[in-house]
């Protein structure tokens, strides 16, 4: 080795190496002059403004939603009644008849929007919604099983529809999510595998649900189908409260995961390097999303595409790189309240709200897929 290491080197074409260790001349690309705005601040301002503006719109649409209906009330009447100054008749219409429905729409929409934002962010994929991950179809199978299997005996029907079906939906959602998570586990859960397993689970569960309906008595089959479409027409305070409680508990818990979600966009390795306990964070986020979805679905039945559209809408409104949590909840509430208003007040005969969200959501999905190729480099 000494023979080869001592040979002097003439090397005439010596590269123009800059002095090592000195301050180097960097190949500085020209900065576009448009970059004078305060870094970070404009984006945050836009996030706050967009979220606030959306919230105001949601309140207005909700008031219109309460006002709209067969016996017409003015917006002024609605506000007066809400602060306790209405006539007993107005009180009955507003508080007992219309408010539960609008409040239900708000809560269900917020739950779905937030759940969608959580799953889309943690999977780094806009397609990863609770619908795709099998949670919704699990809830569907649970609810349909309860309707079909127990529905034959008339004795339980009343209690079943108000308590049994929502509980069965929640159980279905939870069991499915545990199974999907377990099947995706291989020394940790990778979001791509989770989506694939979720798609498989969704297909299986939908098949089972269809089978249940095909074998059911005609009345139960009709009830099950109606439930599966997703509707707010049967909603009452009794079904709004559980969902609201879930939202009130899970919302803040989800918010604590916000900065870890932000970091997790950089990949699992870098997240670990930055101190995020990736697997634990993932379980918390998924559990939040599953509970929110289960709460929403048990209150209204599955509303297709809300969890998918709301976070993407929020992301575009706020101009953020990932779906913002609070804004997604707000846009989710907006979508469901507005869709419900349209089905009641605009369309000639009342269409279940789930049909309308699907009609709006599906083309949006296609449009996003077509545009996504160009836009989402990181997805």
């Amino acid at each position: 080795m000494s023979a080869s290491t001592t040979r002097p080197q003439p090397q005439p074409p010596q590269p123009p190496a800059p002095a090592p260790g000195r301050k180097e001349a960097r190949v500085a690309a020209p900065t576009p002059p448009a970059d004078r705005r305060g870094p970070g601040r404009t984006r945050r301002t836009r996030l706050v403004v967009a979220t606030g503006a959306s919230a105001v719109v949601v309140v207005l649409v909700s008031l219109v939603g309460v006002a709209a209906g067969s016996s017409s009330l003015g917006l002024g009447d609605v506000v007066r009644t809400l602060v306790g100054l209405g006539t007993p008749a107005q009180e009955l219409i507003v508080v007992d008849l219309r408010l539960p429905r609008v409040a239900g729409a708000l809560v269900v929409g917020a739950c779905l929007g937030l759940a969608g934002a959580l799953t889309q962010t943690f999977a780094r994929n806009p397609l990863a919604t609770p619908d795709i991950l099998g949670v919704t179809s699990g809830a569907g199978l649970g609810a349909v099983s309860a309707i079909v299997l127990a529905g034959g005996s008339y004795a339980v029907t009343g209690g079943l529809l108000s308590v049994g079906v929502p509980v069965a939906a929640v159980v279905g959602a939870l069991v499915t999510s545990v199974v999907v998570y377990g099947l995706s586990w291989r020394g940790g859960v990778d979001s791509y595998r989770l989506i694939l397993v979720g798609i498989g689970a969704t297909a299986t569960l939908t098949g089972l649900t269809t089978y249940m309906i095909a074998r059911a008595q005609i009345t139960e089959a009709a009830a099950a189908t109606q439930w599966l479409v997703g509707s707010l027409s049967g909603i009452s305070w009794a079904s709004v409260w559980p969902a609201l409680v879930v939202l009130a508990v899970i919302g803040p818990l989800a918010a604590t995961q916000s900065s870890a979600l932000e970091v997790s966009q950089l990949g699992d390795d870098l997240s670990t390097g930055l101190g995020v306990a990736v697997q634990r964070h993932r379980i918390v986020v998924l559990a939040c999303a599953v509970l929110l979805t289960a709460a929403a679905v048990s209150a209204s039945g599955p509303l297709e595409f809300v969890a998918f559209v709301a976070p993407q809408l929020a992301r575009r409104l706020t101009g953020t790189g990932r779906p913002p949590l609070l804004a997604s909840a707000v846009t989710g509430a907006f979508i469901v309240v507005a869709a419900d208003l349209v089905t009641r007040a605009v369309l000639p005969s009342e269409v279940p709200v789930g049909i309308l969200t699907a009609i709006i959501g599906a083309p949006y999905l296609i449009w996003l897929l077509i545009r996504g190729r160009r836009e989402d480099r990181s997805a």
């Binding site: 000494s2 900065s259 390097g273 790189g321 990181s378």
Partner: protein, 294 residues
């Protein structure tokens, strides 16, 4: 003290392989004494699924040094780095940071001492350079103290050190490869960890940008006394910018020490199946590996 050793290494034009100063903190060398090593692998066995990549590895990294792991593709050098960065849990043995077992510390506590830049971090969309670098502050934040003046100044400092001040408001999606790599380095710098792990930080960069990154790494090491452990493929660059080279191959350490001690034709043949000449680099005096035609 570290300054002197690495000056010796860098300016040692004396070609005699034995002449170079021994690398600080060479494995098994009890000179380390009082202060625990910045990083240590103790009897570490690493495997993917069932396949064992490395077995019973003992390696200590002294504070304030630049150590580069070299080895053929698939030799396990990145695997060692992952184990140091707790991205991979050893199937046997353990990793210590400043003498404390990694597993005894919380994720954020480790992240405040140890930063890792993996090979392929994901570039987020609609994110400015400053926002990206700010994420490096995550281990210093909690629910009660979301963002402090210290965070802001750490980010400013990292941007300045990497020459990204002008680009701070740019979207990371619009950066060139070299600029993006500097942005990732800035993120890791903003983390203000004493020890920095870099997994092939120069891959996909042209030579001038590779030098750019490695000079930056060297200056971070000098100015902050940061301990750097990295994986590089270019042996000449590795020799030029490291105090110590560790050659990995066949599931174990094949060579360990100062660049002149390690980069011998024998080791190169052993680790890389490479027939090469090692000559002093006329510009830096570091060993220069010149492959021979068969």
């Amino acid at each position: 003290m570290t300054g002197t050793t690495d000056e010796t290494t860098r300016t040692a034009t004396a070609p005699s392989p034995g002449g170079a100063a021994p690398a600080p903190g060479t494995a098994g060398d009890p000179l380390v004494g009082a202060a625990p090593p910045a990083l240590a692998a103790r009897g570490v066995t690493l495997s993917y699924e069932r396949a064992v990549v490395l077995e019973g590895l003992d390696l200590e990294v002294a504070r304030g040094t630049v150590t580069t792991l070299i080895g053929a593709n698939g030799s396990g050098k990145s695997t060692i780095l992952k184990a140091f960065g707790r991205l991979l849990t050893p199937t046997a043995g353990h990793v210590e940071i400043d003498g404390a077992p990694v597993r005894s510390l919380s994720g954020k506590a480790v992240a405040r001492r140890l930063a890792i830049l993996p090979q392929k971090p994901l570039t987020p969309s609609a994110t400015t350079v400053r926002d990206l670098v700010s994420r490096g502050r995550h281990p210093h934040q909690s629910l009660l103290t979301p963002w402090t003046a210290a965070d802001a100044s750490a980010v400013d400092e990292a941007l300045a050190a990497t020459g990204l001040v002008e680009l701070a408001a740019r979207d990371v999606g619009t950066l060139s490869g070299g600029q993006l790599q500097r942005a990732w380095l800035a993120l890791v710098l903003a983390q203000q960890a004493e020890t920095i792990l870099l997994d092939e930080p120069t891959t996909f960069l042209d030579l001038s940008h590779q030098l750019d990154i490695l000079r930056l790494v060297r200056s971070i090491n000098r100015s902050r006394g940061a301990t750097v452990v990295m994986v590089l493929h270019d042996l000449t660059l590795a020799a030029r910018y490291s105090d110590r080279l560790v050659v990995i191959g066949r599931g174990r350490v094949l060579g360990d020490g100062a660049p002149w001690d390690v980069l011998t034709p024998e080791v190169l043949r052993d680790a890389f199946d490479l027939d090469a000449l090692v000559i002093p680099d006329p510009t830096s005096g570091a060993p220069l590996v010149v492959p021979r035609d068969a």
